[in-house]
Symmetry: C2
Subunit: 417 residues, 2 copies
């Protein structure tokens, strides 16, 4: 009897995480070697609660439409499993659910933390004696996973940011003589400045916006920053700034810190743009405007990058291929070719070398004044935002197909945290 598969999304969604889900499910159907693909409702939580969605009830048309669908169709969550030793109860429960539903493959679609969880699950086979193949599938707008050349989700966020900066900077430029002189866009990126860096893709000619990029890898130097703003306004009449939510001061504190923490214990960030705006008001008395893109930047399927979408689908279908070839504890990663023309392919990389590690911007990508990125950064980033995806509209808004989302009948007693 064919083994079934369980697919779960984890952490913040991206513009293309559903594309990965669609490609994975369709590939599994095509292979004819996997029973059913169940999707855990709300990520790993659904696996523990035995809330499993039977994707075999969904039409091929619906599954294809996932390519363009924002959000996470099956729900996601932030819940990090600890070591098998300290969280034995959770792992035992997972095995119970796996057994009850004849699950032989577990696909976990997420970032660093999820790669760690997937790695632990991949070890269940040995440690708890249950045969399960576990594949982690990369997904994160943060682009901070190691080994893979880039992370599905990032390219689309990068395209959103570059386009938004291009559009907003033309707006500011039009009005700068008598109105706004400084525009600030806050983007995501807690520890790594990939998203902020991608704003540099808005440039075509020298002097084009953005003029200053504040990266979380660099300690904020207020004096140097204000001088650069002042000089830019003097030179070209206005100044466009992109600031990463994760920028810290020389005391190691986020420029704007909130008192709330998420389930992983990370502080919840937001509000560095108004901090910078306030600084410019007080110290330079320059009229400014600011925007905070927040979820808009990571869910903007309407402006997804074609290359990113292709990556997202490829890691989904390769996850199935790798599982069927007998692999366990791996991640399909994107490998960039060495030729000048952008080429890529998918390889398997061991989760032990990925879990919990974080890829920041390399030094060679940061300009000497530390408020910008180098041409090497742009060479790396440019291919990732190429192409548009012609996402479908209906009635003036993105078209969402209906999904049945029918749950599998439970076989176990309720699970309590």
């Amino acid at each position: 009897m064919k083994k079934n598969a369980l697919y779960a999304q984890s952490g913040g969604v991206t513009a293309v995480i559903n594309a990965t889900a669609g490609a994975l499910i369709l590939e599994a159907r095509k292979s004819n070697k996997i029973g059913k693909v169940f999707a855990a409702e709300n990520g790993i939580l659904g696996a523990l609660r035995e809330e499993l969605i039977d994707t075999s009830k969904e039409s091929v048309k619906s599954l294809i439409s996932l390519k363009h669908r924002p959000g996470g169709i099956f729900g996601s969550c932030r819940l990090k499993l600890k070591d098998i030793e300290t969280s034995e109860q959770e792992y035992n429960r997972l095995i119970e659910v796996f057994k009850a539903h004849n699950i032989g493959y577990f696909f976990y679609n997420g970032g660093n933390d999820s790669a760690d969880t997937a790695f632990k699950v991949s070890q269940i086979s040995k440690k708890l004696n249950y045969p399960i193949q576990c594949i982690a599938i990369p997904k994160t707008v943060d682009n901070d996973l190691v080994l893979t050349d880039c992370c599905p989700g990032f390219g689309s966020a990068a395209k959103y940011i570059a386009t938004s900066i291009l559009e907003a900077s033309l707006d500011v430029q039009s009005m700068s003589e008598t109105s706004t002189k400084v525009f600030i866009l806050e983007v995501m990126g807690r520890h790594a400045g990939w998203m902020a860096a991608s704003s540099a893709l808005a440039r075509t000619n020298k002097g084009d916006a953005p003029h200053i990029i504040l990266l979380p890898e660099i300690i904020f130097d207020q004096r140097k920053f204000l001088l650069e703003v002042k000089n830019t306004v003097k030179k070209i009449g206005f100044c466009v700034i992109v600031v990463s939510e994760g920028v810290k001061n020389n005391k190691g504190k986020f420029l704007s810190e909130s008192d709330t923490k998420d389930a992983f214990g990370h502080s919840q960030l937001g509000g560095v743009a108004p901090y910078i705006a306030d600084l410019i008001n007080k110290k330079l008395k320059l009229k400014n405007h600011w925007a905070v893109a927040d979820y808009l930047q990571r869910s903007a399927s309407h402006i997804a990058s074609k290359v990113d979408l292709d990556h997202a689908e490829a890691v989904g279908s390769y996850a199935i291929k790798f599982a069927l070839s007998g692999m366990n504890g791996v991640m399909p990663i994107i490998v960039r070719g060495k030729s000048k023309k952008y080429k890529w392919n998918i390889k398997a990389a061991p989760l032990s070398k990925i879990a919990n590690l974080e890829k920041k911007l390399p030094k060679s990508f940061i300009s000497s004044n530390k408020m910008n990125v180098t041409s090497r950064a742009i060479e790396y980033l440019r291919p990732l935002i190429q192409g548009e995806t012609a996402s479908p509209y209906k009635n003036g808004i993105p078209h969402l197909k209906e999904f049945k989302l029918i749950k599998v009948k439970k076989k176990l007693t309720n699970w309590q945290i």
Copy 2:
């Protein structure tokens, strides 16, 4: 000898103001009855300074590309001319410039204030004895001009807002079980709630986001609002809120100006979205995220509405037609047909009945709980976001053609304010 024309943009730009400029210039060329079309650099300021761009130097291809170009290609400004009596100097200078460059037509592309200026200029003929025909062309994301059914620029901002809310709400929904429960998007609209109202177009089914819309026409009722947030989260698991920047409290103060402090005792740095977020943190202790769209919403040509783009081009070409038919002191307005299927045409309306007036959301568009809009509002709004414009990309970002922007040789002495 044919008279020349002067075109000037005024106030904040929109995603389609350049489309109006392009259509106007091309229509003037086609007519063969107008000499050259000059464009004032940075709006009326350029007219006073005699900084005139000769659009006859631009290729037809470049002018067609204005259809999709964000920002204001010739620059804009915020400068309101006073009465002819009190600002005689400015009006005399305008006439000097008009005379020096044989200008017989003045086209002023803006909102309320610009309609007022245009109205005053249209009276120069009589009062200062210079023959000039002045046509104001509507443009404002605020959608607050009277007489016209809608304002070019609004439909595209509305489409941006509806799409962004749809995408972000799917994001929030995916994660709401363990993470963010409330999402807040701040949109523009100081006095009129058209932009906030347009977020309702994101809905397809009952219960879809946005769940609460805070309009500047309605005094903020904190108790009622918090109760609605709480009940929405209880009922459907999350709550999406759209708030207009212009919402005021019962003391007539903008919420964003309220003197509030965050959890660390720092005073809150502007923005009504962070104000609402802070309120929800303190009073409901619900995890939330917020975004401020700011300039992104009014400059997003990449997601312009086709209907809005058509309006923008039509008012541009009709401005020429009206001028050539001898009209003065009018605005081409958009008139909606009475049939169920959306139809529209352009008529001329007198500026005396438009200048300085402001169209707010009618009472019939606001729901009985005052935190939402009615189906009548949606019926009005829906046609304005229909259709996509296939704006061109190059290298992953919106493609901008080069413009020459060659200035006309000055004939007068420098103007000093």
